[in-house]
């Protein structure tokens, strides 16, 4: 399996020799598979942006190493295959949308003859065609994010880093950006997203990592994060007496009783089988058995609090 990103034991300390030394990353390791959407989550100051900046050569690590698309990050030429939308970007405000894309295409080493066609495609994709001749300084925050995304894609990169891509974008715009990212993934691109909007990351990411105080707390697929294997909701085919269930399942942790359902916490599937058998023996038919999912946001808050 080819990895788009391989990070090994990265440590970054800002002002290491001063009293105000700040450890942004501490012995941090991570791999991101090619063709996936990877979401990096963490509270403010967790080290998310520092990680991206190290990978892009904007900041230098104190120790450790990293590879992007199988090239060492010190090789600036690998950036011909990378797109980046930073948080709080600042574009040359004397340019209009179309010229801005030409400007970054040149800087990105895009020398194809089809640049005008590429610009047309991207402006249509991010729905900025109407404002292509308007100066960037007149753009709203949402428009700047859209043109910023187009800028990150102008040279058709294989790996795209997005730092808070939907910041300042309205809900419809956010949905559009999510759709763009999913279609890019379907084209085989790898996308690395830093975001505070956990629900969005949950919607698009294949894998997620949580970073706090420069350390990786947890990494896994969204499914692994959000599925609580041990909690099930049991729906019965008729109303029941909660005392009966409580007595019946006295050795189990039962909670959230409703008219026809309750939740139960089990250690494994064998326990779950035992519970269903017990219920059936007492003429309590099971209509539905659901593994309870928790939102990424709840998991995130729990993990950060524990940490």
């Amino acid at each position: 399996m080819i990895n788009a990103i391989e990070v090994n034991n990265l440590t970054k300390i800002y002002n290491p020799k001063s009293k105000n030394a700040v450890t942004a990353l501490s012995d941090f390791s991570l791999t991101v598979e090619i063709g996936k959407i990877f979401g990096l989550l963490g509270p403010n100051g967790a080290g998310k942006t520092t990680l991206i900046k190290i990978l892009l050569g904007i900041v230098f690590q104190n120790s450790g190493n990293a590879k992007i698309l199988e090239e060492d990050i010190s090789n600036y030429k690998v950036r011909t295959r990378i797109g980046y939308l930073p948080e709080n970007h600042k574009f040359p405000n004397y340019l209009n949308g179309e010229d801005l894309l030409k400007y970054y295409a040149k800087l990105s080493g895009y020398n194809e003859n089809d640049l005008s066609k590429r610009i047309d495609e991207l402006l249509a994709l991010v729905k900025m065609n109407k404002w292509r001749k308007t100066k960037v300084k007149k753009y709203s925050k949402g428009m700047l994010q859209r043109i910023g995304l187009a800028q990150a894609l102008i040279h058709n990169p294989d790996l795209i880093f997005l730092d808070e891509p939907t910041d300042g974008v309205d809900p419809i715009g956010r949905k559009e950006i999510r759709d763009i990212l999913i279609s890019l993934k379907n084209e085989g691109k790898t996308i690395f997203v830093n975001s505070h909007l956990l629900s969005e990351v949950e919607l698009i990411s294949d894998r997620v990592a949580i970073l706090n105080n420069g350390k990786l707390i947890k990494e896994g697929s969204v499914e692994e994060f959000t599925t609580q294997k041990e909690v099930y909701e049991v729906k019965l085919n008729k109303e029941f007496d909660s005392d009966l269930i409580t007595n019946l399942l006295i050795s189990y942790e039962i909670f959230e009783f409703k008219k026809e359902s309750f939740k139960v916490k089990v250690k494994d599937e064998t326990e779950l089988d035992k519970i269903t058998d017990l219920l059936r023996q007492h003429d309590l038919g099971i209509r539905n058995l659901n593994n309870i999912k928790t939102s990424l946001e709840d998991i995130f808050i729990n993990l950060i609090n524990k940490n």
């Binding site: 950036r79 040359p92 400007y103 800087l107 080493g109």
Partner: protein, 273 residues
């Protein structure tokens, strides 16, 4: 090389978009207009030649007057040209280093060395273009008016651009270290208007301090700092047909340029943004 060219072109474009550059071009145009009006309204024979003792005689009248005019305008032109040029480029580096902009630039497949060289060449090309517009137009006007087509006046373009390049290299270094366009401008003007003219007459200070250590220190400062005042004299000498007698001011200033650019690249290549 291609990357340096791209960075150069983008710097030129960025500089052309600045209001300060428009002011630079506007002042140049105003100077040209003033001379144009003067040349149209006053005949060659009646032309006022201030501060010169030219013997106007026979066929040389046009050539002599034009030489006097060139001498008369070349030093103010030098001062004005450098002053405006410094003003128009001093914010190139601080603007490049602005958060949000530098992140994007450094994430592109262009090395930090190429970026600095592109900024350096771009700024110089813009100033060269403006000085060429001003000085070539003046040369053309003088030629039409007095029939003097001596090309030595055009050397002013090269020399003024060179002096600017030396100071601009320092502006880049100060910009990278301090991220301040005001500090870069202040130090440039300090060298241009105060330090270099004073150090050009350093013998006076030897007498004032009467100390070998002070003499050594003043000499060190003299050889280190760009010799803008002496290069100004070189321009005047060239324009009266004397040629360059001493290349030391040019060579030591060039060494200063190289040192500043090298330090800029080294510091910029190691900094976090």
């Amino acid at each position: 090389m291609n990357n340096i060219w791209v960075a150069t072109l983008l710097t030129i474009r960025e500089t052309f978009s600045r209001k300060i550059f428009i002011l630079f071009a506007g002042v140049s145009t105003l100077v040209l207009l003033l001379f144009g009006i003067l040349f149209i309204s006053v005949s060659a024979e009646n032309f006022p030649v201030v501060g010169t003792d030219i013997q106007i005689s026979g066929m040389d009248i046009g050539s002599e007057i034009s030489k006097a005019i060139k001498l008369f305008i070349v030093n103010p032109l030098y001062g004005l040209g450098i002053f405006l040029a410094i003003f128009s480029v001093s914010s190139i580096i601080p603007q490049m280093l602005e958060k949000g902009n530098i992140d994007l630039l450094l994430s592109k497949p262009i090395s930090r060395t190429q970026l600095i060289l592109g900024k350096f060449f771009g700024g110089n090309i813009v100033v060269l273009a403006n000085l060429t517009y001003l000085i070539f137009s003046l040369w053309l006007m003088i030629g039409i008016k007095f029939g003097d087509w001596d090309l030595t006046f055009l050397w002013s373009i090269v020399i003024i651009t060179f002096v600017f390049a030396v100071l601009y290299a320092m502006i880049i270094l100060i910009g990278i270290i301090s991220n301040s366009s005001i500090l870069a401008m202040m130090i440039s003007y300090l060298i241009l208007l105060i330090l270099s003219p004073i150090l050009a007459n350093r013998e006076f200070f030897y007498q004032l301090f009467e100390s070998k250590i002070a003499e050594f220190f003043i000499d060190g400062l003299y050889y280190f700092i760009p010799k803008t005042a002496e290069i100004s004299n070189i321009i005047s000498e060239i324009n009266v047909g004397m040629g360059i007698e001493d290349f030391q001011p040019i060579l030591s200033s060039f060494a200063f340029l190289i040192l500043n650019i090298a330090l800029s690249i080294i510091i910029f290549s190691k900094k976090d943004y």
